[in-house]
């Protein structure tokens, strides 16, 4: 073998996350890129690629390059696969590095949907006196929130496979237990299954504690070659594999909506590239907009059989001391809601061994997921502190 041809995440930058006011998404994004470059031991001028994630609350586009004063870039794009974007950006960055298109690519997500004195829920809700057209009729009659669309998906899984609210609650409890050990987490007070069951209904079968937080902030990572990463400030987090899955479930007879997701094909692609099977995975960092999303992703990735995600979660596998530590930072349910950058940032922290009280006992192979739309889009990354095949 000659020079190894692998890619790594060499830098991680995270702004303050949560109720962070007074900084625009563009400013937050610029701050995160600066922090990520500094983390890697790079100057901003060392970057020759920038990928910017689509967001909700006025997230920046490619003009961010100008904001940062970046010059002579060889790769610059805005990427949009909704919650699957972080994984997609990293895979495009890695592909660009492998092809020689660019050498050092920053990937950034920023959003600021929260406004002072506004409830978290209202940032993503719709309300109106007058409604227009067929879609307006649907909203007028009550389907106004993403929560309800995910509730429809979760309910279908429950009706088909016998999944229970208590099983979803086991995911909320395990995730909060991890969050209680993470100083970056917004919600750190431990919760019980009873707390989950007693939390108010958002949209049955989803309780409040089945739903993610809403956060302002930004996170960036730097992707470069293994060879370059080795000489930088932090230990490389090697990218072993990646994949996407966009099932295109139609809303018509025969649809698998709510039952299977793009995790199935996305995971198979990524694991094949990485040369692993689910049994090789030490830690999962899964996109948890809802507890249900974790449950169905675990099934589709093959960590348990279809329909057995509820029993798997209730077995205690996901929490501290479990057989498959999952969302070790507290995820989007309890730590911070930065779309796909939430699971990715925690994967980098775990791969580096920087998890402190929440460090998983083994973190040689970490699976990272992204999920976007109403289960329309999925991305997977497999990362490791070791070179692939080493």
């Amino acid at each position: 073998m000659g020079t190894s041809r692998g890619t790594s995440i060499a830098g991680l930058g995270m702004t303050e996350l949560g109720r962070v006011y007074g900084r625009s998404p563009r400013r937050l994004a610029a701050d995160a890129v600066r922090l990520a470059a500094a983390d890697a031991g790079l100057a901003l001028g060392d970057l020759d690629g920038l990928l910017v994630s689509h967001g909700m609350g006025g997230s920046p586009g490619i003009e961010l390059a100008g904001t940062l004063g970046l010059r002579d870039l060889r790769l610059l794009s805005q990427v949009n696969a909704f919650g699957a974007t972080a994984g997609a950006m990293v895979s495009y960055a890695a592909s660009a590095v492998l092809s020689g298109t660019a050498t050092t690519v920053a990937c950034v997500f920023a959003d600021a949907p929260l406004k002072p004195k506004q409830s978290a829920g209202s940032a993503y809700n719709r309300d109106a006196r007058e409604w227009y057209g067929f879609g307006g009729m649907t909203a007028a009659l009550g389907l106004r929130s993403v929560n309800s669309y995910y509730a429809l998906a979760a309910q279908r899984h429950m009706a088909r496979y016998g999944t229970t609210s208590e099983q979803l609650g086991a995911i909320a409890v395990a995730t909060r237990e991890w969050a209680s050990r993470n100083p970056l987490a917004q919600m750190r007070d431990p919760i019980t299954l009873a707390d989950h069951q007693n939390s108010r209904w958002v949209s049955e079968p989803l309780h409040l504690l089945d739903c993610c937080l809403v956060s302002n902030g930004a996170i960036a990572v730097i992707v470069t070659s293994d060879d370059r990463a080795r000489d930088l400030a932090r230990p490389p987090v090697h990218l072993w594999g990646w994949g996407q899955g966009h099932p295109g479930h139609r809303k018509e007879r025969g649809s698998e909506f709510g039952l299977t997701t793009g995790a199935a094909s996305s995971g198979a692609t990524a694991m094949k590239m990485a040369g692993i099977t689910p049994s090789d995975v030490d830690v999962c960092e899964l996109y948890d907009c809802y507890t249900y999303t974790v449950l169905v992703s675990l099934e589709d990735y093959g960590f348990c059989a279809k329909g057995e995600g509820g029993a798997f979660a209730a077995s205690g596998a996901l929490g501290p001391g479990g057989s498959l530590p999952t969302n070790t930072g507290g995820g989007q349910l309890s730590a911070y809601y930065m779309w796909g950058m939430t699971p990715l940032s925690e994967a980098v922290i775990q791969a580096r061994g920087d998890g402190g009280e929440r460090q998983a006992p083994s973190s040689d192979v970490i699976l990272v997921s992204g999920n976007g739309g109403i289960l329309d889009h999925h991305s997977t990354l497999i990362v490791s502190p070791h070179r692939k095949g080493a």
Partner: protein, 126 residues
């Protein structure tokens, strides 16, 4: 819960012409013999963007549901029309104990004092 007032948007007017006279009118691609929701942007089979409109039977089955914590609770659902398309819909006259995959439903039309007429789905009883 407060519904507000429904207005036409110029793209789904035949649907509201239908609801005004107690008919469920949805989109249809004659070339492909396929039915679509009233807001379908086109036929993914043949690419036709200018879909026709046709009257559906109004018979449906329940795919999945969610309940909003309102007073009284709002029962929302995905329903499968007999013709195949799924609609996001609101259920009327349903009790939690009734709810199951495949529950037979029939369309019902509501005519508010102000704004367009709209549809609900009720458990089907012969």
């Amino acid at each position: 819960m407060e519904i507000g007032v429904l207005r036409r948007d110029g793209r789904t007017d035949p649907f509201f012409d239908g609801t005004a006279s107690d008919r469920l009118v949805i989109k249809r691609c004659e070339a492909c013999d396929r039915w679509f929701a009233p807001d379908a942007a086109g036929c993914p089979e043949c690419g036709e963007e200018d879909l026709g409109w046709a009257q559906a039977s109004g018979a449906a089955t329940l795919v999945t549901w969610t309940v909003l914590p309102k007073d009284p609770p709002a029962f929302l659902a995905l329903v499968e029309l007999a013709e195949g398309p799924w609609l996001h819909a609101r259920l009327d006259g349903a009790a939690r104990a009734d709810l199951r995959e495949g529950l037979p439903l029939g369309v019902a039309f509501e005519h508010p004092d102000e704004g367009e007429s709209y549809i609900l789905f009720r458990p089907w009883t012969e």
